[in-house]
């Protein structure tokens, strides 16, 4: 094809042709069947490109990724005995953990001569970030606010007993967070307290996420 306009047809399709050239081409098109046919094909190519389906890899890539980033892989979890919990059960577990953590923090602070626990007695949790940074993260605040809003909107779809359990347990976690924050204000360098605060904040987010998902799933 040697038409002088052929190489400009894609620009025309994309609306990138300067106004003057566009007018000239539009005057040319009614007189040139070849350009009209090519233009139609180019438009179909563009339309086809926008309807291509994405597809997942044939192999599951997550286990390799999980190994690289140091988290438990799907395969490893599948190999374990599967357990399922209801939201109230998870909430209850969260509360027990919160109470245990809070009690530990209280005991630690109650002893005037007690310093931060040594590394040898602390379970290493390298994946947690510093609690101060975590708390200051606006995405954490935004995520909590969003989930609280979803939960507030969906609470009418939840059983009142479930709502009561969730509210009660969130209250306990909030108290644990406040206690940890107060303790940290007195001892900001205490690594255990930083870790404890981060764990409580993550626990709150996880509980909210599950509760919001439950609220959204009810019909």
């Amino acid at each position: 094809m040697s038409d002088t306009w052929t190489n400009r047809l894609s620009e025309y399709v994309d609306g990138d042709l300067p106004e003057r050239d566009r007018a000239t081409l539009e005057a040319h098109l009614p007189t040139c069947a070849e350009c009209r046919a090519t233009l139609d094909e180019l438009r179909r190519v563009v339309a086809r490109a926008q309807t291509l389906d994405d597809r997942s890899p044939t192999a599951d890539l997550w286990p390799a990724i999980a190994r690289h980033v140091g988290v438990v892989s799907l395969d490893a979890r599948r190999a374990r005995r599967r357990l399922s919990f209801t939201v109230p059960q998870l909430a209850a577990a969260a509360v027990v953990l919160a109470l245990l953590s809070g009690a530990s923090a209280w005991l630690l602070l109650r002893r005037p001569d007690a310093g931060p626990p040594s590394q040898s007695t602390t379970t290493p949790t390298p994946i947690l970030t510093n609690a101060g940074t975590y708390e200051a993260n606006p995405r954490y605040a935004a995520a909590v606010a969003n989930l609280e809003r979803v939960l507030a909107q969906g609470r009418g779809r939840l059983d009142t007993a479930t709502v009561r359990v969730i509210a009660k347990n969130l209250g306990i976690i909030d108290r644990a967070i406040r206690d940890a924050q107060s303790a940290l204000a007195a001892d900001p360098a205490n690594s255990y307290l930083n870790l404890h605060l981060a764990q409580e904040m993550r626990r709150k987010l996880e509980l909210l996420r599950q509760a919001a998902a439950l609220a959204g799933a009810q019909t």
Binding site: L52, A59, L128, A213
Partner: protein, 190 residues
């Protein structure tokens, strides 16, 4: 939080918003080191990232690149700012990872030929049904430059100025490559 205050029980369910909220929560959790939250993000986005990698570089390298993208995303989560959607951020990261690898891949495959003549192999194939390529396969047979411009522009929605910036070419070259790619592909419309 006002869980005990009577709320609006008749609000319509907004699945999209709920999904966005859940993703926002997962991003925050993953940024704090939660592997399960990151796995949920992976499951949501893997098809799009893998398809991008496959179309940009071919089937042989797509698995590797997809893994690289998600490993890189994990290490860079702290730099994600919520001004953009997570999917947009991840996609941009993926394009950068893929393009950073393209020179090596082009050399390995010996097919870094962006001349117009290189398009002939795609555009002049016979039309017999048994020999025809499907559209995806035809994209994969384009020369690297034309294929990358076509994928970024027509499939992924990048503008020529952005593509020129990403590929280190001028916008005019991007337009020209796109046109040649489309001209070649029109023969493979189903």
């Amino acid at each position: 939080m006002e869980l005990t205050t009577p709320g609006v029980a008749t609000l319509r369910r907004d699945l999209d918003q709920t999904a966005r909220d859940a993703e926002t929560a997962d991003v925050a959790l993953a940024a704090s080191g939660d592997g399960r939250a990151f796995e949920r993000l992976y499951q949501t986005h893997v098809a799009r990232i893998y398809s991008l990698a496959r179309r940009m570089t071919g089937e042989d390298h797509a698995d590797d690149l997809t893994q690289d993208v998600f490993v890189r995303a994990w290490t860079k989560l702290a730099t994600f700012r919520a001004e953009a959607a997570f999917g947009t951020w991840l996609h941009r990261l993926a394009v950068n990872v893929i393009l950073a690898r393209r020179t090596t891949l082009g050399t390995e495959r010996g097919r870094y030929d962006d001349s117009e003549g290189a398009l002939d192999g795609v555009s002049s194939r016979p039309h017999a049904p048994e020999l025809s390529l499907d559209f995806e396969e035809a994209i994969g047979r384009l020369p690297d430059g034309a294929r990358q411009v076509f994928v970024l522009h027509d499939i992924e929605g990048y503008r020529h100025e952005e593509i020129a910036d990403l590929l280190g070419i001028v916008p005019g070259t991007s337009k020209s490559q796109l046109h040649h790619a489309r001209m070649a592909l029109r023969r493979h419309l189903e």
